[in-house]
């Protein structure tokens, strides 16, 4: 299936195809995502558990939930969600990511439906999900509002959208571009374009315009002394995440 949408930026896709094989190396090009992953997963799992009344200490707590991971990449979030029992569709507009994700899931003993498609195509096909993950994606799309509208259509009534991105201010420029790309070389130069970053207020506007209700927002904060990420209720200056629900 070919991506026929309008919001995918072709130059962005080529960048990620080049990196696809590196997805699962904890010390490779995606090291920052691997480092951020426990923190993202803590937020995602606690929000899903709260919204759908699930006990994370129980086996396969997300059994029965249909979940879409948009911009799934190598499957860094799709695999944990499948392991927790969710029925997962991983969608990526970069075709090169999908073989990597499929092979890795198979070797990990996980069944995940990886598709080369875009949010808009899935929405047009009438697919619906209990949970839509839209993590570190919206800053890479050409039409954020069109993309958010598609996410809204993809949710079942009562469904949950989790969306994370990077704030736009001098601190985020220093951290994400000067720090992560130029100094630490954590990310290849040009991974991010600062003018595509979105402030929390702008994101709330996108979410509300799409017809969803924002219910929570938190920051992901990197502590250079502990060399790890944590969730902050106040500091949304760089990386942050939001939870929104679609009315029943």
């Amino acid at each position: 299936m070919q991506a026929t949408d309008t919001t995918v930026d072709p130059s962005e896709i080529a960048k990620f195809e080049a990196m696809a094989s590196e997805w699962w190396d904890p010390n490779g090009k995606f090291k920052p995502l691997h480092m951020l992953n426990p923190c993202r997963l803590d937020y995602i799992t606690s929000q899903i558990a709260a919204e759908f009344g699930r006990d994370l200490a129980a086996p396969e707590p997300f059994k029965g939930l249909r979940l879409l991971d948009i911009g799934c990449g190598g499957g860094l979030l799709s695999e944990p969600m499948a392991r927790l029992g969710a029925t997962v569709v991983g969608a990526d507009a970069a075709a090169g990511n999908l073989p990597v994700a499929r092979i890795h899931a198979e070797k990990s003993g996980l069944e995940i439906d990886y598709r080369h498609t875009a949010a808009e195509d899935l929405a047009a096909a009438g697919e619906q999900f209990d949970v839509v993950l839209n993590m570190e994606v919206i800053e890479h799309v050409a039409d954020p509002q069109g993309f958010m509208n598609a996410c809204q259509q993809l949710l079942k009534p009562g469904g949950l959208l989790l969306c994370s991105t990077i704030n736009r201010n001098p601190k985020s420029f220093m951290m994400a571009i000067v720090g992560a790309e130029m100094i630490m070389r954590w990310l290849p130069r040009g991974t991010h374009e600062w003018n595509k970053f979105i402030t929390p207020d702008e994101l709330y506007t996108l979410i509300e315009t799409a017809g969803l209700t924002p219910v929570d927002r938190k920051g992901f904060v990197f502590n250079p002394i502990a060399w790890s990420w944590s969730i902050s209720a106040r500091d949304l200056n760089v990386n942050y995440v939001t939870a929104s629900i679609k009315a029943d």
Binding site: P26, H34, M35, N37, P38, L41, D42, T45, L56, A57, P59, E79, P80, M81, A82, R83, L84, K107, S108, G109
Partner: protein
Amino acid sequence: MAYDSEILIVGGGLNGPALALALADAGLSVTVIDRLDTATLIERDFDGRGYALALSSMRLLSAIGVWTAVAQKAEPILEVKVTDGRVGEAPSPFMLEFDHSEIEEGPMGYMLEDRHLRRAFLAAMDAHANITQINDTVVDQEIDEFGARVILASGKVLSARVLTGCDGRSSGTAERAGIKRTGWGYEQTALVCAIAHEKPHHGVAHQYFMPSGPLAILPLPGNRASIVWTESAANAARIQALADEDYLAVLRPRFGTFLGDISLAGQRFTYPLALTLAYAFVAPRLALVGDAAHGMHPIAGQGLNAGLKDVAALAQVLVDAMRRGEDFGRIDVLERYQSWRRFDTASLALATDAFNRLFSNDNPILRLGRDLGMGLVNAVPGLRRGAIREAAGLSGELPRLLTGRPV
């Protein structure tokens, strides 16, 4: 990929069963492999060995459901007296006294005999549906990106997401993984035995720092105590070769008369003292626990306590990762355990080492210095409370199990 069990534990001593129970309680399937069969492990009669369990270790045992089986057999340590001494001399005037009433948590720890703890562990593992025990020897292991396999002497092959080495200071699991170790011997040997004494000990543990090495007198139930007595390797060999009555004749002047006459109440053991530290505590799909990662000088009785801290930290790292859906055998997950425990254990190993070098010495200046040092620690309540909390295992960022909560 299907695994025979999610966790493989090599070594069914004390840390292995503790880890197995903690993980099995959280819903993971665990296989424990030990060379000795359970009958051999529990057949042992009282052999005089005991453990000074820190309060945090007792809480871990409670959390994994083992404490109730041994609580009646454990002797609370209500006070610890540390003294600089010389054979046949009165104790030096500066004495460290740690009293449990200075911390709010109750007794400072418990003395528990090896036989009771082992039996309780084995019974708890037998009763646990998620634990399989195998009596066999590991002859080889293989690790790839997605799992670990061990090959047993019987020819059987077992696979798991994570392989944990709880197999002691000469860990085969570490060696097969190519993890090197560093360490050194001390030319010292610990003589270990249980004694019966005339007068009650009132729950007081004593540690005498003698020129040849420390002597610990640790209260057991009744009028009995566990003795850990360190001598130079040559002296220890001579003392161990003596007949029981002559052995006691050497011990008496070191021991003093405060508990009345003493007699042997079990077998006599010797343990050569050596420090060993693995260069890494983890590798992909592999984690080392307890002495397999770090064996230290046992003067502070911290060996088992440090091992149980490893158990609590590793169990929490694995279970937290499982609950967020991570593949918990990946190196980036296991490194969280390593960074949590490595600094702590390395600094404890080196501190106990420095402590031993300072105290196993007859240099008058060092003696004066440490006497003054002890007086100072004693005179400043904050310092003393800090030392008590450290010895009781209550300082640092504690894993949930060490506070008595489930993992």
